[in-house]
Symmetry: C2
Subunit: 198 residues, 2 copies
């Protein structure tokens, strides 16, 4: 296959950024030429997680069709949440945990959705199904995404599968998810860096 | 969960009938109350397969909302191919190998699509992922569905995964897939039973 870009939704949250990184890594391990990018700057919470696990911020794009024909979507499917030129691109893969709406393809594709709290929870299953090991750094980031989407397992969208995923990934990352999670969520509510307009 | 119905598209082909039976069986093994039904009479080819493997024909329904609130779709997703009252029902699961179009949900759901030749090929992966054994009778039917959709691996939609699936299922069913497959496809082109109007 020719190179594809993988990205989450506009105004990215931690899951949108991290799920793109995790799915790109999985695809790369399966031999595919894929780059994780983002549709906007990481927020404070995501920056905290990227810094904590010493991970680089994905490249930020505003449109994709000038560099690729095909893309993979994570953490969203609705066209109005996607890259500006989504109508000019072929979507080959989606991994998501939201309702399906405003989404239509010309051809068959790979689509994986589950009604769980976070895309990264689904990706953990996919790593296991494909027998691909998750590096400690990526495990820490995926754990951060699930903590973010489930508000440390407090949100009503949290499922048993999310709880198990957090614990599994925390073990791989060798980290205390509760103390780390509180610090990360706190970083996300830090108002210091926000403009007065907000 | 309360009882759900699972079905393939209108004017069912072998995959539409068999994928419903296979996904219902998988869901039942996972502890869910699910019944496989069909949106029309099996065609000649499907009847041959059901007869060969001594399987009962699923109940045929014209609408679903009088008996259930939620349904699972296999081998289709487009609403115009589905049950007449699809708009009054909640779709909780889809397993399919077609493009996505005219499909929208209010809530998150389980959606599994892959660009392969047959829904039953995807279902074989799902049985394996869930570590659920496939009974010989069901394996024979799933093999029949893949032979039907891929025209015995001759159609351009055939993938390597479909080829492996046919062989894997033929071993479970303990059957020579090539001689059986030719007989089954021949039964589907048998014009003897068709009305003069056709
Ligand atoms: Mn998100
Ligand atoms: Mn998410
Ligand atoms: Mn079909
Ligand atoms: Mn089919």
């Amino acid at each position: 296959m020719s190179k594809e870009l993988v990205f989450g939704h506009q105004n990215p949250d931690t899951d949108a950024i991290v799920a793109a990184m995790a799915f790109a890594y999985l695809q790369q391990q399966l031999g595919n030429d894929v780059e994780a990018v983002a549709l906007g700057e990481p927020n404070e919470e995501t920056s905290y997680a990227l810094r904590h696990f010493a991970a680089a911020t994905p490249r930020i794009i505003k449109e994709a069709s000038s560099e690729v024909d095909s893309v993979m979507l994570v953490d969203h499917n609705e066209s109005q949440q996607s890259v500006a030129d989504i109508k000019d691109l072929t979507v080959t893969h989606v991994v998501d945990h939201h309702r399906i709406a405003n989404f239509e393809t010309v051809s068959p594709l790979f689509y994986r959705a589950e009604p769980v709290g976070c895309t990264s929870t689904i990706l953990l299953s996919m790593f296991n199904e494909n027998k691909v090991e998750i590096p400690a750094q990526l495990a820490g980031l995926m754990m951060s995404a699930i903590i973010s989407d489930t508000l440390l397992m407090k949100s009503p969208t949290t499922t048993e599968k999310d709880r198990i995923a957090i614990k599994t990934l925390a073990e791989i990352a060798d980290i205390d998810f509760e103390s780390y999670g509180l610090e990360m969520l706190k970083a996300g509510t830090n108002l210091d860096d926000k403009s007065e307009a907000e």
